[in-house]
């Protein structure tokens, strides 16, 4: 189990809407190793987002077991889950989800706001150098609405990286971007992965999926295909 960062065992998710229940995930088994760049591909309604929510600890499975770095996180309470999300996970969303009234720098520092020890001057320097590395050195005090889509997503990437996460989770990260910006973001992902960061990305776009090292295809709540790139 040593370098397996994520292990899912027979994960099921059932949504109850009134009297009707939908089984979105019908028994998912998955192992992700340290340093992988896994792409989960599927059409809309296939359950890929629900799966990412569960991996990202934003949602709980109805049944099944989930180990993150050897810990069975499916048994943790909400406070412990918040701690894990803050220390081990980084999120990239399709809609960026930047705080509209905060500057790029403040957005990057946001996750550190929820650490009891706060943050140091070094953290702030690190945030600036992350933004610089992502080509936003000139724009650290810009508000999200003053930035292009590609720039906003790069701020979001910096925000995900500030906590030095073990696992980067991306949900259609290029869904709202033009092709040039998409390519840029994918190059950053590849670069980060090459430095050893484990990435799980969800997409419906086969072109984007090609950036990953391993692609698993999900359909109707179950993995149907797997290929190495």
């Amino acid at each position: 189990m040593g370098d397996k960062i994520v292990i899912l065992e027979d994960i099921q998710k059932i949504y109850q809407i009134g009297k009707v229940s939908y089984q979105v995930l019908k028994g998912i088994d998955l192992e992700v190793e340290q340093g992988e760049f896994l792409v989960i591909m599927g059409t809309s309604g296939s359950g890929k987002t629900t799966l990412l929510n569960i991996i990202g600890l934003l949602d709980k499975p109805t049944s099944g077991r989930y180990f993150l770095e050897g810990e069975e996180v499916s048994k943790f309470d909400s406070k412990k889950l918040a701690y894990i999300r803050n220390r081990k996970l980084g999120f990239i969303f399709q809609a960026f989800h930047l705080v509209p009234w905060a500057t790029a720098l403040e957005n990057v520092l946001l996750p550190l706001l929820y650490r009891p020890e706060g943050f140091s001057k070094d953290d702030e320097k690190r945030a600036i150098s992350l933004l610089e590395r992502l080509g936003l050195g000139e724009r650290i005090h810009a508000k999200p609405k003053e930035l292009s889509g590609g720039q906003q997503q790069r701020v979001a990437i910096a925000r995900a990286l500030i906590t030095n996460p073990k696992l980067l989770l991306a949900d259609e990260p290029t869904g709202n971007l033009d092709s040039a910006s998409s390519k840029e973001v994918m190059n950053i992902f590849k670069e980060l992965n090459a430095e050893g960061l484990t990435i799980i990305m969800v997409t419906h776009d086969p072109e984007i999926a090609k950036n990953g090292k391993r692609i698993k295809v999900i359909a109707d709540g179950i993995f149907v295909d797997e290929k190495q790139v």
């Binding site: 987002t49 999300r85 803050n86 989800h97 706001l113």
Partner: protein, 405 residues
């Protein structure tokens, strides 16, 4: 750099507040209006009480004084016993007590007063020379009564400060005015005294006690007396001693009720402020209700804010904020609103008091009490009514962030 951290934390909250200015303005407005009302009403009550105290202090009715009023019964209300039993003998007996500095007895009534073309019913008091000392009230013109005036039952009078103006008389000293059918020579005019309500101190006419009893009212009993004690007298003990003397002189034994009332300054203040207090309590109750309404408004606006901010809250949760972080965030926000409106409410009430003082005898009263009451109530209201919305915020599912199902 803990400070920098706090700075970002507060900045985040402030910016969130300012991001919806309409919402913020209504939150502030809701609180400010009720806080201004609360503060103003409280200040008016305090100001009225202070004024009563000032007036009483000015009349030498401090802690070393006591009033004895003929007729028994409750402090406020009709007398339930005879009222004609208090005599000069009582005064003489009390004057002899070693802890008594002086006694000033009086009789009073309303009589027709005429001077040249003027004629009106006015308040007449028959007093002794000790009246001046007992009430810290001296003549500004002319002289007060002497023992001689008392002995001779002289037909002289001393006017309250506003009387000459009222009866339209200039240079009134030495002139004669008609009181209840008899002519009295004016020998002095009293200095003005502050008064409150309808009880005008400066509209009375004083005549010697003996003259009043024998020639004007034709009675052998007193209406009241004021007693001044020597310093450091045990008032309770003095009260009991005087009560004993009066009961004995009036032949009251066993369970027969007192036919007199002993009034200490505390009771007088109580009496003077009783009516205003009922009003104040009533108005305070209304303003507390309005504060609750403000609270409900704030709760709703907070709800609206949290609903609008759901994605941001979800994001905070996804990035590792715990439920208590979220509650802290929104309670801090509530506190900021509370502090701003508490301060503005207090400041506005000061202005309002200033305005009221133009139309009424109440003077504006600056006090830190009202300042802290304002802030305290403001914080209490916002925190209580923000708790539920803040808790609601923690219930937001962070999974709404990933909508690309």
């Amino acid at each position: 750099m803990k400070n920098r951290f706090k700075q970002i934390f507060l900045k985040d909250i402030l910016k969130e507040l300012l991001a919806n200015k309409v919402n913020l303005v209504f939150m502030l407005l809701a609180l400010i209006i009720s806080l201004t009302a609360l503060n103003t009403i409280y200040s008016l009550g305090a100001s009225a009480k202070k004024q009563v105290l000032d007036v009483l202090a000015n009349l030498q009715f401090g802690k070393d004084a006591m009033l004895v009023i003929a007729g028994g019964g409750k402090i406020i209300g009709v007398t339930t016993t005879r009222t004609d039993t208090m005599k000069m003998k009582d005064v003489e007996n009390i004057e002899r007590l070693e802890f008594v500095k002086l006694v000033s007895p009086w009789v009073r009534g309303i009589l027709e007063v005429s001077y040249e073309g003027f004629s009106e019913k006015m308040r007449i008091e028959g007093v002794t020379p000790s009246y001046s000392l007992a009430n810290n009230w001296y003549t500004k013109e002319g002289r007060f009564f002497s023992e001689q005036d008392l002995k001779n039952m002289a037909k002289v009078c001393v006017l309250g400060a506003e009387v000459p103006q009222k009866i339209k008389a200039k240079q009134v000293i030495g002139k004669k005015i008609k009181i209840g059918g008899e002519y009295f020579e004016v020998i002095g005019i009293l200095e003005p005294k502050p008064s409150f309500g309808h009880f005008r101190h400066d509209e009375r006419i004083l005549i010697p006690l003996t003259t009043a009893m024998r020639r004007v009212f034709n009675k052998d009993y007193l209406d009241a007396m004021k007693i001044l004690f020597k310093e450091n007298t045990d008032i309770e003990l003095a009260k009991e001693t005087i009560r004993g003397i009066l009961r004995q002189n009036h032949n009251l034994y066993g369970i027969q009720p007192d036919d007199f009332r002993l009034i200490t300054p505390d009771m007088a203040i109580e009496r003077f402020t009783a009516t205003t207090r009922i009003l104040t309590v009533f108005l305070l109750a209304i303003s507390v209700i309005s504060l609750v309404i403000s609270g409900v408004i704030i709760m709703n606006l907070m709800y609206a804010n949290i609903e609008e901010r759901a994605p941001v809250i979800a994001l905070r949760l996804a990035l590792g904020a715990t439920p208590s972080n979220i509650i802290q965030h929104y309670l801090t926000m509530a506190l900021i609103v509370a502090l701003i409106s508490g301060f503005i409410g207090w400041w506005l009430s000061l202005g309002l008091m200033q305005l009221i003082s133009f139309f009424s005898p109440l003077k504006p009263l600056f006090s830190w009490t009202t300042f802290f009451i304002s802030l305290g109530f403001s914080m209490l209201t916002t925190i209580i009514f923000s708790l539920i919305p803040a808790y609601k915020a923690t219930q937001i599912e962070p999974s709404i962030l990933l909508k690309s199902l």
